[in-house]
Subunit: 425 residues, 2 copies
Amino acid sequence: MDIFLNPSRQQWAALCRRAEQDNSQIAARVDEIIEMVAREGDAALVALARKIDGVELSALKVSEAEFCEAENKVSEDVKAAIEVAISNITKFHAAQLPHEVSVETQSGVRCIQRPVAIQKVGLYIPGGTAPLFSTVLMLALPAKIAGCREVVLCSPTNKQGKTAAEVLYAAKRCGVTSVYKVGGAQAVAAMAYGTESIPKVNKRFGPGNRYVMLAKQRVSACNTAIDMPAGPSEVMVLADESARAEFVAADLLSQAEHGRDSQAIVVCNSVALAEAVVAEVKRQAAQLSRGEYIYESLEHSRAVVFDEREQMIDFANEYAAEHLIVSMQNEWDVVDKITAAGSIFVGNYSPESAGDYASGTNHTLPTSSWAHSCSGVNIDSFMRKMTIQELSHDGLQGLAETIVTMANAEGLEAHAAAVTVRMKN
Amino acid sequence: MDIFLNPSRQQWAALCRRAEQDNSQIAARVDEIIEMVAREGDAALVALARKIDGVELSALKVSEAEFCEAENKVSEDVKAAIEVAISNITKFHAAQLPHEVSVETQSGVRCIQRPVAIQKVGLYIPGGTAPLFSTVLMLALPAKIAGCREVVLCSPTNKQGKTAAEVLYAAKRCGVTSVYKVGGAQAVAAMAYGTESIPKVNKRFGPGNRYVMLAKQRVSACNTAIDMPAGPSEVMVLADESARAEFVAADLLSQAEHGRDSQAIVVCNSVALAEAVVAEVKRQAAQLSRGEYIYESLEHSRAVVFDEREQMIDFANEYAAEHLIVSMQNEWDVVDKITAAGSIFVGNYSPESAGDYASGTNHTLPTSSWAHSCSGVNIDSFMRKMTIQELSHDGLQGLAETIVTMANAEGLEAHAAAVTVRMKN
């Protein structure tokens, strides 16, 4: 981890740069998979599981027997932890439910904004060595709270054709309608176009590898919504003399273990603190097992030092971190000046992992500086807002001249005629 | 306009199909323009205006003198109409402002959802024969109400290098920060990458031709947000014996005049009504001047008849119209069953043009069945929601076991360590 001292504004862009992903190599393959699934449906999914994952699937849909088996397999400790997380995530997301807005903008003109649930949503949960069942909670719970009618989930299996027990248990517990044994770009395609087994959904959610992400981008160009674009995970810690190097280092490392592309940045108000953090990172890293990811990730991680507190804040707003930890004096004064971050963790006892699992906030957050313009997943992500208007005869009369004048000025005569035809009697 | 009688569910997909746009022809050109602007900045914009529009621009930024000139040019009638529209749009959008949500999910664990304005937004207003100044109101007013710090607007000029007076007047009146004389895909690229004159913004809004739309899609794949994907405009009218054929026809035509690709569909509960509407469309169309668009648009417009009221509603939800007019008995009973539409117009005196201009609702709405998953532009479009969490020492202690158990079950050891390091003292 290099230390940068008072970098000039010209250097900020380079310091804010993320590890770039070049997807040009895999684009053709992803397009091929999408087309194959759109054309051949279930048969393509079975064939791709055989070819890519070496798995022979007898059925795509997870059976009731498999859900029971999963429930028996998950330990009581994990079940108890899941209950705590469910309780907190539910409380926080239920409190976000939007209300209908109704305004009489002028006499006889009623305008309404009505939130409605997206009817069918699809969740993708990656497989791999560690089953990310926490993401099931983060996506399925808000979907149910929002009122989505159908919530389907796709996740790849292991070589024996089994979905991770924790994923199945969490899915059942959170009210997922059905789970399918499909992974990768083909899962995204299946939920975008529908197959004999898997329903076409209105919006797709969830993380995944580069194939999954690219597939999500591709289908989103063809009339099917996605939660958000996503790149590698990242954390920024703002630290001054109130921070503790030991804690800061642990937070940087919990980011670094996510993957080789992850980025961890600490912004300090002194070189001494930056050096202490870097030394702690080295010390703690040696005790961790996921070294293969951690050391590579630390190569594009960095410590940045600013003399001025305001510069630390400006730099954080320019970076727009997915996770921003504020370990500074007058921490709420800092928080109130943050305009771009996915989720903010305040003080010495709010590690990122609290929000990753169980405090109640969502862990599906904008990366790669998308926090300048996008929110993380929240209850809004599973709803739409429709507007509704009702004008009385007199209400339209009161607006008629305005509408006709504007329509004529825009050269849209039939727009004006739709008003005058109603007013002529 | 063809009439379809009680089509089977298998036929619905075909009847819901929109006029498809094939953008493959223009994709290479759009990419070329985007790259040129990203590389050469202002010089590219001046060169493209010369080449594509035949305009010699001395400056890209609209001057104060030009704003004054525009103000003198706009008629008092139009100014008065704009004031009415501004008042209604402001009332409805201000009522939508979200509030901060704060929940103590468990003792010592505080979770907050905080709405913050997107800092810099860019609006695109197409040029052409009729200046769409109403779209300036629909985008700039919510941007200001949301609290966006910088609102830039790009719009092409006429051959004399002048931006439409109504557009400039509306921009000034709605608090737009600066207006630039740039049109087409190059305007989208300029706001995505920034040039010497034009600031890079965080999110881009506004309609446009196929070049503009494709450019928006392209830049949105590279870390710059857009309001929504957009296709040709469309309306669906649900009509029973309470509807008046004369009004329905006028609404269909006000849609048809938008462009050749526009689609207007009426769903009736009787053949007699469908025939009356089709006859009225023919009669009224003959009186309108934009026949070149209207007749072509009517070719892919249609009347669909269902005996069952519930089928009418289901079909409307499958189509997911940008604009849905409900002229039926017990109209609110119908409205309450609609899950997918951009904006709903209720009863005989709520023409689409009311919402297009002045009732208060936004006219930037999801087309091409995107209403299954997307909202129209509203105050949320100009804001993000950040989450914030603060755990006390005891709050983290109360959650520690849960977090550590889940992190270990996911194989993320450093996530667990970030908690235990804080709890060991």
